[in-house]
């Protein structure tokens, strides 16, 4: 479809866009309301919030950004970007959430203690490089 023909018969007009805007505003209200409800675990709240956000995002992408009526290549490009972002997220989380604290098996205090009040000075002061094992640990990490 040439830009000229697209222009003479645009796929969507003010009415449709207004409906989509309404849906977006309603979903915003829903997500704010849902945030006040306790769904059990904190991750449940996060998942629900992300689902609602994705619904809103889909409306914006499909209708406001015209993906619904565009050539499929544009949507493919966008979805591909999302997939690779997903890869980055998944694999990084796979690492960070499956690490086993080596020193807990050894049952002594870790070398670095998280600071109490969130100020760097205290954290640094509480550093205690103690045993051969933690020294070996830091030797392999470089």
């Amino acid at each position: 479809m040439t830009p000229e023909t697209e222009a003479h018969h645009p796929h969507a007009g003010p009415k449709l866009y207004l409906v989509i805007l309404g849906a977006l505003l309603v979903l915003t209200a829903v997500t704010v309301a849902a945030a006040g409800v306790d769904f059990g675990s904190s991750s449940a709240n996060l998942v629900i919030a992300m689902i609602i956000a994705s619904a809103k995002a889909s409306l914006v992408a499909l209708y406001f950004m015209h993906l619904r009526w565009d050539k499929p290549l544009n949507a493919t490009i966008f979805v591909a970007g999302l997939c690779f972002l997903g890869i980055m997220l998944t694999f990084t989380f796979m690492d960070n959430t499956t690490r086993v604290e080596v020193h807990t098996r050894m049952a002594f205090t870790p070398a670095i203690v998280p600071p109490d009040e969130g100020t760097p000075e205290e954290g640094a002061a509480e550093e205690e490089p103690v045993s051969a094992v933690s020294a070996a640990e830091s030797a392999t990490i470089h």
């Binding site: 980055m88 990084t92 550093e127 990490i141």
Partner: protein
């Protein structure tokens, strides 16, 4: 497309003429406009390619001299010519220049910029002004990075690992900002080429009739667009960590230093595929032409390019086997690393099959292509050693790693770039160079390269750590051998510079339109050098890119 049916060659008169005679003195892109300003404001993809060639070769020599100098330091186990601090800065400078400012832009910004529209039958790339903007981003970014030298340079290694990179002062900030700007250069290039390949192909040029060079560059461009922004955010986060102590990578502030490595390598592993895919793309052009035989396994090579681009995104953790990753993550990354070797292997076998029973000639491009095959095979295979989890624990951060990546990046990517430069040199400048001196340079580089880096595999396997200023006495003979090898490499490049400049200084353009007898649009339908708008009429594609004329000997 490309099979052995014996038929009368279908030559247009123009193609025939281009094969035999040098061009008349018509205006071409080089002399169509004159003056420095016309070059600095050009939107002609060919001129932008030439601007990039000059800039990148300059940076290559800068980075190369850093390497020469640091290898001189390593002649003795103690101090030779510089302090330990200076040594650290030398290898950092070498790495940063060679990765960000040379290898990443090398083939895409120079050869692809020049050749792609010609190969597609287009008058320019999709977004010519963005193309020029890309070059300016490169120049400005490079200047900002080099400005860090005024502040004493950086000694963090090009990998910028935390916590050292966040704690040290000096020029780190400038390098971060400069690299961020250079990143835009890469993104603009990739973006431009994807749009060009999708929309600006000549009539008759379907996806599977395109030269394989285009497939390789398409895959490269995809990586450029997807991976470079992650480098961007990594550099920004590092900057925020330095300026605001945000606490993302600092354990004392609740952060995770290994997270930096995840971010860094999510870009920096695909970036090595940005370096090698174009090299492979060039191989797919040079090898058929100089074997006068159609490529073996066109679709396999095309799909392998895409596979390498895709799978290359999910192996980055193999740089972090000893960094404190979880065992699960390490195992997964190791397994996938083995998978990513498969499409590369397919390509190498297909190129060899192309050469088999071909009519091989040994002009300069082919000499470098054969060097590529040997050196890339070694580099690629040693990558499997490093991808094996248990073996890597011993080899990580040793000279084995250094040798591996020099074999693939220099023996692979750089050799291919030089092959491409020699292949398209007559097209770009209308002049032939001395084949004799080209062969001598190739010999010097090949011998020197292996002397320098084969030794380093042995050193690394015996425990010589990388980036070390002092080392044990027992490693000295190998270090000396390696350093002397680097001098042969330098000699080879100096010879190359000399004969290439000599070819440019020839008064008369002596290159025919198609000296190698290739069958792609860039050779058959354009003069050498091409006119400013590339084609007199839009070409129509009627045959495959590797449909060479059957030989008299009958096959």
């Amino acid at each position: 497309m490309g099979n052995s049916t014996v038929e009368t060659p279908d030559l247009s008169l123009m193609a025939e003429a281009l094969r035999r005679e040098p061009p008349d003195s018509e205006l071409n892109y080089l002399n169509a406009e004159r003056g420095l300003w016309s070059w600095l404001t050009t939107v002609d993809h060919k001129r932008i390619g030439v601007l990039y060639i000059i800039s990148i070769l300059f940076m290559f020599f800068l980075g190369g001299m850093a390497a020469i100098v640091l290898r001189i330091e390593l002649l003795t186990p103690e101090r030779t010519i510089m302090s330990a601090d200076t040594y650290n800065k030398a290898f950092t400078l070498h790495g940063a220049i060679m990765t960000f400012l040379v290898l990443v832009p090398s083939i895409p910004a120079t050869l692809e910029n020049f050749v792609l529209p010609l190969m597609l039958g287009a008058k320019d790339v999709a977004f010519p002004r963005m193309n020029l903007a890309s070059w300016y981003c490169y120049i400005v970014g490079a200047l900002v990075m080099m400005a860090s030298l005024i502040f004493g340079g950086i000694d963090t290694g090009w990998t910028l690992y935390t916590p050292y990179s966040t704690e040290t002062s000096g020029g780190v900030g400038l390098v971060l900002v400069g690299a961020f700007i250079v990143g835009f250069s890469s993104i603009f290039t990739g973006l431009n080429f994807i749009a060009t390949i999708h929309k600006l192909r000549a009539p008759g040029l379907s996806w599977f009739k395109m030269p394989l060079f285009v497939w390789g560059m398409y895959a490269t461009s995809l990586i450029q667009v997807l991976a470079t922004p992650v480098l961007g955010i990594t550099l920004l986060l590092l900057l925020m960590e330095k300026v605001l102590n945000v606490g993302v990578f600092d354990p004392a502030l609740g952060g995770d230093p290994v997270l930096f490595q995840h971010f860094f390598w999510f870009y920096s592993h695909p970036v090595v595929y940005i370096m090698i895919l174009p090299a492979m793309a060039i191989m797919s052009e040079v090898i058929p032409v100089f074997s006068r035989k159609t490529i073996f396994g066109y679709k396999a090579i095309a799909f392998s390019s895409m596979a390498i681009a895709g799978v290359g995104f999910i192996v980055w953790g193999h740089h972090m086997f000893v960094s404190g990753q979880s065992s699960l993550a390490a195992t997964v990354f190791s397994f996938i690393t083995f998978l990513v070797a498969i499409p590369s292997g397919i390509k190498v076998f297909n190129w060899l099959a192309t050469m088999y029973r071909g009519s091989i000639s040994f002009e300069a491009p082919m000499l470098y292509a054969i060097s590529f095959l040997l050196l890339f095979a070694i580099g690629g295979l040693t990558g499997l050693f490093l991808g094996s989890l248990a073996v890597d624990v011993h080899l990580h951060d040793t000279y084995f790693v250094v040798a591996h990546f020099h074999y693939v990046m220099m023996g692979g990517s750089l050799m291919a770039f030089i092959a491409g430069l020699h292949y398209w040199w007559p097209k770009m400048f209308g002049r032939m160079y001395s084949e004799k001196w080209a062969a001598i340079a190739c010999g010097l580089i090949f011998v020197g390269f292996n002397a320098t880096f084969l030794t380093q595999f042995l050193m690394g396997a015996r425990g010589m750590p990388r980036r070390y200023y002092n080392y044990l006495e027992e490693f000295q003979p190998m270090h000396v051998f390696s350093t002397v090898g680097s001098w042969f490499v330098l000699a080879g490049f100096l010879v190359m510079l000399t004969y290439l400049i000599a070819s440019l200084r020839k008064k008369k353009a002596d290159a025919p339109g198609n000296p190698w007898g290739a069958r792609t649009l860039d050779w058959e339908e354009t003069s050498s050098p091409p006119i400013a708008h590339n084609f007199h009429h839009t070409p129509v594609v009627t045959h495959g890119p590797y449909d060479f004329y059957p030989q008299e000997s009958g096959r």
